[in-house]
Amino acid sequence: MKIEVDRERCVGAGMCVLTAPEVFGQDEEDGRVRLLDPEPAGIGDAAQSCPAAAITAAD
């Protein structure tokens, strides 16, 4: 699947890092999302659980 993240929307809650740590990280400085793997096999429910709807997943 293809993943996109919107760092402007991100509120740094860290839900994606808990859900799919191999795909998502947090910037050390501003805490906002860093995409580690833009084409992973899956991300569980990381997109639905993002509180700011900052993650888009397409097959």
């Binding site: 509120v11 740094g12 501003d30 429910d45 509180p51 700011a52």
Partner: protein
């Protein structure tokens, strides 16, 4: 098209007798038929009550609903419910929207990341061990609230922020009335002023001499002293009275569900999932609010501009459409997607700190005391029925 819905004249608050962990039963029956109903607020405002998981999440994720303090009506009874709400003070970003909120939040997110909080694990372990040692030294029974549940998170938030822990009794005394909606307004204002004055002095001192902690880092940004005081106020208040209640109420819940406690003892690795389930099952921050900025069609209804929606996170987290057998505490279930930390752009900033603290503290407590049990009958445990954060005021336990 809109359908007719029930109209409640007050928010149900009474938990069922003998089930201190369950939300008021009226909320459950309402949710299953009418996840969005009408509610008359204590000040007479005609608003709404959302109890379904999907609708609660939809409201808090929708920018047409505001968190601004001056637009609020309070659904919980008490003096504060009758008062005219001023706009949020500088730095009080949980009561702000949009760019104003984002400006503050973005300065703070880097300080509460998953990785940064996990780096605190060793320190939390040390603090936890010290408190368990002290409990053991003084006998075979203790009130878990002052001996364990309150001091561990208090010490951690003080260290993180750079607030002297020696003053924690002063904070606790002043935070208490702010979380009790029925406290007299004068008492709440006096507590706000005492805390605000104290933190303002601290901010001024840190500006003169920056220290290696969150407030010390923030004084180097473009935030004013008033803004920093507001931020310190929020973070300190949130750190003192939330995780503490999860630790005490969570222990109470596990002791009342011996089969679940046994599962957790058999498989200590399952602690992460068990914590999410305790967060869901207990939902200590049980009620939130948002105000419609424009007419919004939602849940088959039209919420008009200016109308306030009370959000029952506690009822939402017991929604059978989201969680099968929702009233069962099941430490093995997948509780992901619960609303215990909220949802939307205001979702709890400190949630990763809370998770690390709960993981270390529950693991430490259960590991140290294999025979941990209540020292008094369960129905004698005093509940925080007068607080907007659920919990217990005392939890006498024994382990000998």
């Amino acid at each position: 098209m809109t359908t007719s819905v029930p109209h409640l004249t007050e928010l149900p608050l009474e938990r069922p007798k003998g089930c201190p962990f369950d939300p008021p039963p009226e909320l459950g029956s309402l949710r299953d038929e009418h996840p969005l109903a009408r509610l008359t607020f204590p000040d007479g405002h005609e608003g709404w009550l959302a109890t379904g998981h999907a609708i609660v999440r939809a409201v808090v994720a929708d920018p047409r609903f505001s968190a601004r303090q001056e637009l609020m009506h309070t659904p919980l009874p008490g003096a504060a419910a009758m008062a005219e709400m001023p706009p949020a003070a500088p730095g009080m970003f949980i009561k702000m929207d949009g760019a104003e909120h984002a400006r503050y939040r973005k300065l703070l997110t880097g300080k509460f990341t998953v990785r940064r909080m996990r780096r605190l694990t060793e320190r939390v372990e040390q603090v936890t061990a010290e408190h368990l040692d002290a409990m053991e030294r003084q006998g075979t029974t203790a009130d878990l609230v002052p001996a364990f549940a309150q001091p561990i998170p208090a010490l951690m938030i003080c260290e993180l922020l750079g607030v002297p822990y020696d003053d924690h009794e002063f904070f606790r005394r002043n935070v208490a009335p702010l979380n009790r909606p029925d406290a007299p307004l004068e008492e709440q204002e006096a507590a706000m002023n005492a805390l605000g004055g104290y933190l303002y002095e601290l901010v001024v001192a840190k500006r003169a001499e920056p220290t290696d902690d969150i407030l010390g880092e923030l004084v180097t940004t473009d935030l004013t002293d008033e803004e920093l005081t507001g931020i310190a106020f929020l973070l300190l208040g949130a750190g003192l009275d939330t995780t503490a209640n999860m630790l005490a109420l969570g222990t109470f819940a596990l002791l009342r569900h011996p089969d679940q406690l046994a599962l957790l003892r058999e498989d200590p690795e399952s602690i992460d999932g068990a914590i999410e389930e305790l967060l869901r099952y207990l939902t200590i921050a049980h009620t939130g609010v948002r105000t419609a900025l424009e007419d919004v069609e939602i849940g088959g209804q039209i919420v008009k501009a200016g109308e306030v929606v009370a959000l029952s996170a506690a009822a939402a987290n017991r929604d059978p459409l989201k969680f099968p057998e929702p009233d069962r505490l099941d430490v093995r279930r997948n509780a992901a997607g619960h609303a215990a930390f909220g949802h939307g752009v205001h979702q709890c900033l400190g949630q990763q700190l809370a998770r690390v603290q709960m993981k270390v503290a529950f693991t430490g407590l259960l590991g140290r005391f294999p025979a941990l049990r209540l020292a008094v009958p369960a129905d004698e445990i005093p509940l925080r029925t007068d607080s907007d954060i659920h919990g217990v005021y005392a939890l006498p336990v024994a382990w000998g």
